[in-house]
Symmetry: D2
Subunit: 141 residues, 4 copies
């Protein structure tokens, strides 16, 4: 299992007239957590696209427990349980600075050959990177 955390600051524009973060933003937070995780691995999702593989989203879900507010410093935890084959599944937990759980969610992404625009397997180098990260995490336990 891989657990990776990144911090995201709540921007003013992301609040709504209820005075809280609009729920659609959590979907963006999940995506940015994936991007931050990729940077942590030493690659970028831009590299993935440059290597000819797109990762379209297939499914997203989100459960809202508490509200986030303007200027909050959120911690977004991404949880990866399985190495991707045709699909890359990730779970998420969003915490505020008081370490209260605000939101949980999950995303499923596919892999698409950019040239043929047909589904493909996860690139080997990506699977290996994840495998390597899983090994590191297991050794830390």
């Amino acid at each position: 299992m891989i657990i990776f955390e990144t911090e995201i600051r709540v921007w003013y524009v992301d609040t709504d007239q209820m005075g809280i973060v609009h729920h659609s933003n959590y979907i963006k937070y999940y995506e940015e957590a994936r991007s931050a995780f990729m940077r942590h691995l030493g690659v970028s999702y831009a590299d993935m696209e440059a290597s000819g593989v797109l990762m379209p989203i297939l499914h997203v879900e989100s459960d809202y427990k508490r509200s986030a507010r303007y200027d909050d410093l959120l911690t977004v935890r991404i949880i990866i349980k399985d190495l991707p084959m045709a699909r890359f599944v990730a779970g998420y937990e969003v915490y505020n600075a008081a370490r209260e759980l605000l939101n949980t969610g999950s995303t499923t992404l596919g892999f698409l050959n950019k040239a043929t625009m047909r589904p493909c397997r996860a690139p080997e180098w990506f699977v290996e990177m994840l495998q390597c990260e899983m090994d590191k995490n297991n050794n830390n336990e």
Copy 2:
């Protein structure tokens, strides 16, 4: 059952570098479909808030089947199967102009007393409006 459709135009800003509508926008489309449905009922979600009831989102999920593109005229269908008690559940189907199904989803909203900020039941006037709409739809079948 209530079925209500509204049209939403895809804006340029909602595309991403994959050349398609970014997946977070469907969550906004669902919300605007609810707003359009409320206007169709002759009320506004603003009236709901003014009457002292907030409707926070509890759960959202979305399944992505095909891509939407800039300038597409989407039809967002909202499907309401049950009258709300403590929760208001709605389903969604998003179609493009060629009537291809792009996306399905669902949302669950709660009801919150704005004064006490505690969960409450759906306002009676709202349930009656929905009941009335259901009766109309049944008679049309």
Copy 3:
């Protein structure tokens, strides 16, 4: 001079915790007004891109006079005074349903050859379309 109006509905997500439309949205409204104007001309900005010409933004400005609110039906007026050569300048006025002026602004766009990524002139077909629209508007006066 060309004057063209389009209606834009304020979405809930576009409000902020001040209870009004967040100011960044007007920049999106200007863009959608340009898109609606293109559709009115019988083309799409997607056609422009497909013909190998991108229209990057060079300058935008916006003056905020009154607030827009959730569910407001705005009228966005686009005003084009000059045919584009190297640059396409447009003015904007945003009104609410009570016909109060909420916002004025302007945008300057350039033309970019997609192949060379170098600045180019406005495509002739686009200039002719605008000329034709200007003639129509003058005859209507």
Copy 4:
């Protein structure tokens, strides 16, 4: 004069089908730079609102010179030349990691008494904080 810099990461959702950051996002970057500057001062714009003063935007402008791309780490520099009286004017410069200037802009904000919703002067504590920051910057020269 006050010069303050903050770093902002470009998110995937902020790209458009031209493959670059959509121009409306710079308006959000300016706002987040203001928020970061407030945090640096040891207050939050939320404190300002809690103290009964809103800061509505009156004017924004933005000049686009080069494109930002997904995953870029931008530096947003905020430049404050004058202490606010009735208006708070700030300039902005946005750089990429190669220290290329991508964008310049400016914003003008007013001060609004939240109770009366009428324009007011900048709160004294805010002016003093800015004065103090200006003194610090001058001593550093």
